[in-house]
């Protein structure tokens, strides 16, 4: 039996009493930002996570990463994100199992086809090799598809999927190695503004912090309320399931625009698939699994891929989307509470955004340049009516 020697990223005992930066939430956003701060010399950082690392959406997602978007800013950021992911093995010392099998989007109406053409043209202008396909050509990529109701499809071979967990551990380990304190099972219960910053109450004692970052995902409205700020993002239960493992047969992640169905095959051979099911969105985070999801998903998946009818579902689970009203994130410093920062509203694509958001957040807070997305995605845009609508949202 091998005697384990490596120490993990989680710090034992209560958090230190004073810190420069306190991050609420140990999901992919909190960890990515912590790592990028430390990388630039700001290592007086404490990350507080109420559960285990990535107990929230980050530990429950599908791992999809794509460059197919409807806004220039997302196309450019996600191009960069894929490049960063490819370098992770060297940079973070982990293999995130990035598999570039592409994303295949399916359009069923003329309206969807028209929007698809517009988005593909935008992506092409920025060097993303997405191409429009006829239904028959889509079948060339996924032979099992029933294309009888298809109007068109589009495909970018450079999109892909990755395995979320190593990603998280990579950031956590590298942040901890550079001096960041990471506390699990530690909840933030109160945040009081004080002359030198904030006095933060936690389930393991108080911490004084000059700056506080709200990286609490679907719980970020609750955390913002601790400093009297109302956020417009809302939690939405998103369910997903995994089937028995099959021999490799499916290259891309496939998504049906009209229903929000998506499915891909993991490295373990399982078909991982989800779909949007309406929910009672009353502001609370719900993670229960529903039979209604299973039947809704199965109907749509078997319609699109009749050959999967005999494949068995092994397990289903749910995670919280942190849904922003216009589909774009909410980031930057809150104007009314100086020193209080947001990184939330990432809806259904926060995992793939974390590499770039972490990088530019770290760069900015460490005194470097401020990426233009901090202006575009500021909280104030909702009150000003300047929405940044992104239509390529799945689920």
């Amino acid at each position: 039996m091998s005697a384990p020697t490596t120490a993990g990223p989680v710090t034992a005992g209560p958090p230190k009493r004073e810190t420069e930066v306190l991050i609420v939430g140990g999901g992919i956003m909190g960890l990515a930002i912590a790592y990028h701060l430390a990388l630039r010399g700001v290592s007086d950082v404490v990350v507080l996570e109420r559960g285990y690392l990535a107990a929230g959406a980050s530990g429950r997602n599908g791992g999809g990463i794509r460059m197919q978007w409807s806004t220039e800013i997302n196309v450019l950021l996600m191009l960069e994100s894929v490049e960063l992911c490819k370098r992770f093995a060297g940079e973070l010392g982990v293999n995130v199992w990035l598999r570039q099998g592409g994303y295949l989007f399916l359009a069923q109406s003329e309206g969807e086809r028209a929007r698809m053409e517009k988005n593909v043209a935008l992506q092409n202008r920025h060097g993303v090799p997405t191409r429009m396909l006829l239904p028959e050509e889509a079948r060339g990529i996924v032979p099992e598809l029933d294309v009888s109701s298809l109007a068109a499809a589009c495909y970018n071979p450079r999109d892909g999927i990755l395995f979320p967990w190593p990603f998280l551990w990579g950031y956590a380990n590298q942040a901890a190695k550079r001096g960041v304190e990471l506390h699990t099972f530690t909840e933030v219960t109160a945040i009081e503004p004080s002359p030198a910053g904030f006095l933060v109450q936690t389930s393991k004692g108080p911490v004084r912090a000059q700056r506080v970052l709200n990286c609490a995902g679907a719980w970020s409205p609750e955390v913002a309320r601790l400093v009297g700020v109302e956020l417009p993002d809302r939690p939405h239960r998103h369910e997903i399931l995994s089937t028995e493992p099959l021999k490799p047969f499916l290259g891309p992640m496939v998504s049906v625009l009209s229903s929000g169905l998506y499915f891909s095959q993991s490295m373990r051979g399982e078909v991982v698939t989800g779909i949007t099911v309406p929910d009672l969105d009353d502001g609370s985070v719900k993670l229960g699994s529903r039979l209604r999801f299973l039947t809704t998903l199965a109907k749509e998946l078997v319609r699109v891929m009749p050959r999967l009818a005999g494949v068995k579902v092994l397990r289903q689970w749910a995670g919280p989307y942190d849904v922003s009203p216009d589909g774009s994130p909410i980031v930057g410093e809150v104007a009314t509470v100086p020193g209080f920062y947001l990184a939330c509203g990432f809806t259904g694509h926060g995992f793939m955004m974390a590499p770039v958001v972490g990088k530019y957040y770290g760069e900015w807070l460490a005194g470097g340049p401020r990426h233009p997305f901090f202006d575009r995605w500021r909280l104030g845009r909702f009150a000003e009516g300047k929405l940044e609508s992104e239509e390529m949202i799945i689920g």
């Binding site: 490596t6 993990g8 990223p9 285990y52 699994s289 494949v311 397990r315």
Partner: protein, 95 residues
Amino acid sequence: MAGKVIVCRCEDVTQSDLDHAVALGYSHLEEAKRYTGLGTGPCQGKECMVACALYLALAAGRPPSEVRPFTSRPPVAAIALGTLAGPDDPGEGGG
């Protein structure tokens, strides 16, 4: 290899995999499940979960009475997509 003890047969997780998870601080069942893949195979942990949970508690120095099972994921038994899709299913009846 001598001393190689399988603790989750479905996913080929060994005792030393668990030791490694504990050493990294991932000693709670939910964390170790994600780190090693234990309990995610065809039996969905029915065979391995209790033993793994007890071993983790022991290795991390926690009393076994504190052990909590991980969230059991529906469905209780594997079920075909075509069955779930119901009678409208075009895959049934030879389609």
